[in-house]
């Protein structure tokens, strides 16, 4: 007997028995599959609201669990554990510990927006995935994901110069995530590129490292973006109840410093 809504149950909680007798009745074959019963006591009632307070998570409450997001999902097709519908369900139920079991893969959403296209309720599941991985990081459940590092390196460069110079972004990202730039496929790619190119273009590409592409008179825009971004971060910390923690940590550091000084 297939279990309805199997997507919503962990495989280890599904028990199938070949031979089974219950209350003297032989139910082998047909009624042989059961969901292990369990008691959940650690509901986090704030979780949905907190994720909804982060950019992208705003419309999570609209979900009616049709499963179109998971059905259309690019990442789910290569990793069945990647299940947006299930995570939205867990978040709305407040089942934090269950969600945390998948904390290391949620950031892998590739933002292809197939889910957004398929969703009949305009939940914007892509946004919910981003908000959820952001929430996991802000709450300290996970380290910053490689993707978040990349976003930050990227945004910092735009705030500074208004433009992206890809070579620099790549170098900074590899540095920040402690990866080597000399991986065999990367070397092969550069070799392919160089074998075709005229010397003149190679020199001008080299110069791009010295003369960085920049938007002129960008300082005021960069400062205004930076100021706005900091305000938003403060708002998010507050929505997630982290402001107090940050304050406590600050005071502690200060008192430690003053002790060290005295």
């Amino acid at each position: 007997m297939p279990i309805h809504e199997e997507h919503l149950i962990r495989p280890e909680n599904i028990k199938t028995k070949d031979n089974l007798v219950i209350d003297g009745i032989d139910v082998s074959g047909h009624w042989s599959t059961f969901i292990e019963s369990r008691v959940v006591t650690d509901y986090n009632e704030e979780m949905e609201e907190e994720i909804a307070a982060l950019p992208g998570g705003e419309f999570i409450h609209r979900c009616w669990q049709c499963g179109s997001c998971t059905n259309s999902c690019t990442v789910n097709a290569i990793n069945p554990e990647f299940n947006p519908r299930y995570w939205i369900y867990l978040i709305r139920m407040g089942m934090e510990s269950e969600l945390l079991r998948d904390k290391d893969i949620i950031w892998q959403c590739v933002s292809c927006n197939k889910c957004t296209y398929a969703c009949p309720r305009d939940v914007f599941p892509e946004g919910v995935m981003k908000a959820t991985s952001h929430w996991l990081e802000l709450k300290g459940h996970t380290e910053k994901s490689p993707s978040m590092h990349f976003d930050e390196v990227f945004a910092e460069q735009i705030i500074e110069t208004g433009k992206i110079e890809e070579g620099r972004t790549i170098r900074n990202f590899f540095k920040r995530t402690g990866q080597s730039l000399t991986q065999d496929w990367m070397i092969q790619m550069v070799k392919n590129l160089i074998s075709n190119l005229p010397v003149k273009l190679l020199i001008s590409m080299g110069l791009a490292n010295v003369l960085r592409p920049k938007t002129r008179n960008w300082a005021a825009a960069g400062a205004a973006i930076s100021e706005y971004a900091e305000e938003k971060q403060e708002e998010q910390r507050e929505a997630l109840g982290l402001t107090e923690l940050v304050e406590m940590a600050k005071q502690e550091t200060e008192s430690l410093e003053s002790k060290a000084n005295s």
Binding site: I78, V110, E166, A220, Y228
Partner: protein
Amino acid sequence: MSEKNEKYKKVAYYPGCALEGTGHAYNRSTKQVGKALGLELDEVKNWNCCGAMEVKNIDPKIQTYLSSRVLSIAANEMGHDVVMAPCNGCYHNLKKAEYDLEKDEKSKEVVERISKKAGHKTYEAGEVETIHALDWIKDAIGEEGLKERVKNNLNGMKIANYYGCMYTRPRHIFPEKDQGPGSESTLEPHFMDDLLEAAGAENVDFPLKTACCGGAHTLSDSDTSTKLVLNILKAAEASGAEVIATECPTCHSGLEMHQIRAEKKYGEKTNVKILYFTQLLGVALGLNAKQVGVHENVSHSMEFLKEKGLT
């Protein structure tokens, strides 16, 4: 001649960051094709990055601002009413900014606030129309016009047209699509197919036209990207394609990079060629392969084009 037809003959051109870097060949071929077709591109003055796929993850409204600044310069400082962006990411973000500024008061507030501090006029929704390079050629020249100008017929070259994600999704930011005959479809896009067919190509039935190449995580989660790209490359080959035609610098460099990575890491070799649709149109219009930057691609297609008698 339709009204659109005339309007698209001279447009503001927003190349974006990638076209000055890894997508250099797309920039070169777009400009060359424009020239060969008698279309004028007026580059947006002192433009900035649109926010790409990354800034929205810091805050979506910063992306809206970044894109709105580009639109504001085109509309208010240059007096244009059309901006053409060949990069899917730029095109998508400008469209999204347009949508947000029309519908969302909070986005308007943030954009106004940052624009004021940055010292330029705030962009108002409706001041310019954003189009893709495909719309540009399709509407300004059209299939018939293209047929008249083709010098080197692509002669039945088998092409899989790959549109990627951001040209059609999410649907709500492209209100002009899915409007019946003549309009672009978000489910089965065909503008690139139409143009390349007019240039003499034989388009194969390719099921992964709008599949994702994993471009957002091309470096941060390379294994996922390699798997996704490998799917696309193999499906194109299985469909009988000799070439995958691209319309986005991120997709294009993703396909090239992970074609190599798939071979190095998983021993999966694919031979399908990867060319920008503007490079294919360019050689069909009689430009030589170097003029449209085929030598600047990572994957090697020079020999292939020579064999086909196209350069």
